[in-house]
Symmetry: C2
């Protein structure tokens, strides 16, 4: 099992080490005859260059990492999928690194970068609030933030980002509920230790919509994040149950995510309510599952595929020396009938 190396290939094909290297990397010039000879030996022995040695020599690899905060979020899955496929098609292997809720994504990226000699990184999910300019400088490789709202005092040229405007989209969703005649509108979210994650921004949008319409913000209608281990389904279920108990007159709910919305829908149905007759529900993200739920759920659709492709594209641009960019996508409210017009 002694791995074959470039020296073996050189010996077996009767050429020098450098020639083999030239053939492999298609650099320099090699006569067609020797090129064929070397290639034959390489194929025969199934030789694959050792990446460690290569990266060590190049002091820069072709490794790209995707740092994901909470990988099992269904909304992220689709993006992961797109990114993985897109990277593979460009010839880059993808190192996917999950980050639990207690760790800092940027720290993980830095550590991973130094460990594995990355040449680029995409960070998906998480909170910008702990990111500092010093950390980005320490990272020192192109970095794209995906779905991480970059409110902060960090020089924006240090990274790229692809987001939607969480505050505005949440505002629009809430406004939609208000226009449909709802006044007692619950807000469902999952607590993440008070960090500035999208949930805070979405909460702010919710609040602004109410205030603009002269509807008082009622703390009772806002879920206290129940600490639940496990997925968001259960969290949505439990918080919705709580919310319904506290607010019998609540007619609509805006859920911070589709996963929460599904859990909430289940809680409503389990409580004998009909959707949308007794209670209207709208989620956020636009995961496919909402389309197949019974009933199909309204949601604020994020163009996940396009956003993921943009992230990849931006990263490659930066790796080729292009400037950083900040893209903000628009969401679309998918209306499927889980929100009903009621009389004022």
């Amino acid at each position: 099992m002694a791995n074959i190396n470039i020296k073996d290939i050189a010996r077996l094909s009767g050429v020098g080490i450098a020639t083999v290297s030239r053939v492999i990397n298609q650099t320099g010039s090699v006569s067609d005859k020797t090129k064929k000879k070397v290639m034959d030996v390489i194929n025969e022995y199934n030789y694959i260059p050792n990446n460690n040695a290569r990266n060590l020599k190049l002091t820069q690899s072709e490794n790209i990492a995707l740092i994901v905060k909470y990988m099992s979020n269904p909304f992220f899955i689709k993006m992961m999928d797109v990114i993985e496929i897109e990277m593979a098609s460009r010839g880059y292997p993808l190192l996917i690194q999950n980050v639990d809720e207690t760790s800092d994504e940027l720290d993980t990226a830095i550590s991973e970068s130094m460990h594995s000699n990355l040449c680029g990184v995409i960070i998906m999910g998480g909170s910008f609030s702990s990111y500092t300019e010093a950390k980005f400088k320490q990272l020192g490789i192109p970095c794209v933030l995906l779905t991480v709202s970059s409110e902060g005092n960090v020089d924006p040229s240090l990274y790229s980002s692809v987001i939607i405007d969480d505050e505005i989209e949440a505002y629009k969703a809430t406004k939609y509920l208000i226009e449909m005649g709802h006044k007692n509108i619950g807000f469902l979210y999952k607590d993440v230790a008070g960090l500035v994650t999208p949930n805070i921004l979405r909460y702010q949008g919710y609040k602004r919509a109410l205030e603009e319409s002269g509807i008082p913000v009622d703390d009772n209608l806002i879920s206290t994040g129940i600490p639940v281990n496990g997925s968001g389904f259960r969290a949505g279920f439990l918080t919705m149950k709580q919310l319904m108990q506290r607010n019998p007159s609540m007619t609509a709910v805006f859920a911070f995510s589709d996963v929460l919305a599904i859990g909430a829908a289940k809680a409503a149905l389990a409580g004998g309510k009909k959707i949308p007759d007794d209670i209207s529900i709208i989620g956020f993200d636009g995961i496919e599952m909402t389309e197949f739920y019974n009933p199909a759920l309204d949601t604020v659709y994020q163009p996940a595929t396009e956003m993921a492709l943009s992230a990849v594209s931006l990263l490659h641009g930066m790796m080729n020396g292009e400037r950083s960019q900040h893209m903000v996508y628009d969401s679309v409210i998918l209306k499927r009938g889980s929100v009903k017009k009621i009389l004022g």
Copy 2:
């Protein structure tokens, strides 16, 4: 941005290179005083050893790869999550590599292993039928197959596996439907180019249950895999629609996966049928979503967490020289009311 290396640390702390190495790897003996001195410098300069150099030197890394056939399968997500966390807790970074439906997982593993100098690999999903003994030998590192039924003529000592018995569990699920009085039982699956994937085994279990009960196997009740791009939800929706048209008297459906089952449930509901009054549905896998669907769906629950933990444990065992093992877990049918007893 010139990266700091072990030589710099040695120079800055006024010791030799080997001493720094000893401090880092906690090997050999170093006086407490010099150890502290070196550690201080390391911390001050945020030094992280270069893994490429280290792996090159050790001709063996601490990298473990998880090769996943079709990453966005919700059933896999949970396992990925568990594996990632468990590996991280043991200090191993995880390289997750997606494999599309046209590529061979074992080939990918081999290639990835030579490229990145892996010390172990877990393969999740896919089909054993293309695996050969030669390939396992070429791989040359501990390998655990997760949810890959290892029917074949490969020496079982070359790999470990963690599975359920797809044929038997499908048999039991179908038997359950039969016991509940159903005779016109549809079978829903997603075509994967005729490979021996779990769907074939589950189909065989379905067939055997019917035959044993003297119910003729009706090809009309078996979905022809509609080629659908996108997720299984839509595939389930479309195949179910087709199946219902072809078989108005069908009273129950056994879906190859929960994702298909959800799509099928949606199709049934969209067609005006009630679950389980007009049609009974049972899925397979036991993903959390089935619990929160409306109505909650019966499913053949695979102990995903335990299976994932076992896979990690087996892999570590093999990396420490232990023998390979083959574990077969039992499934449990979760009865939630989507299957109704009908009169013969």
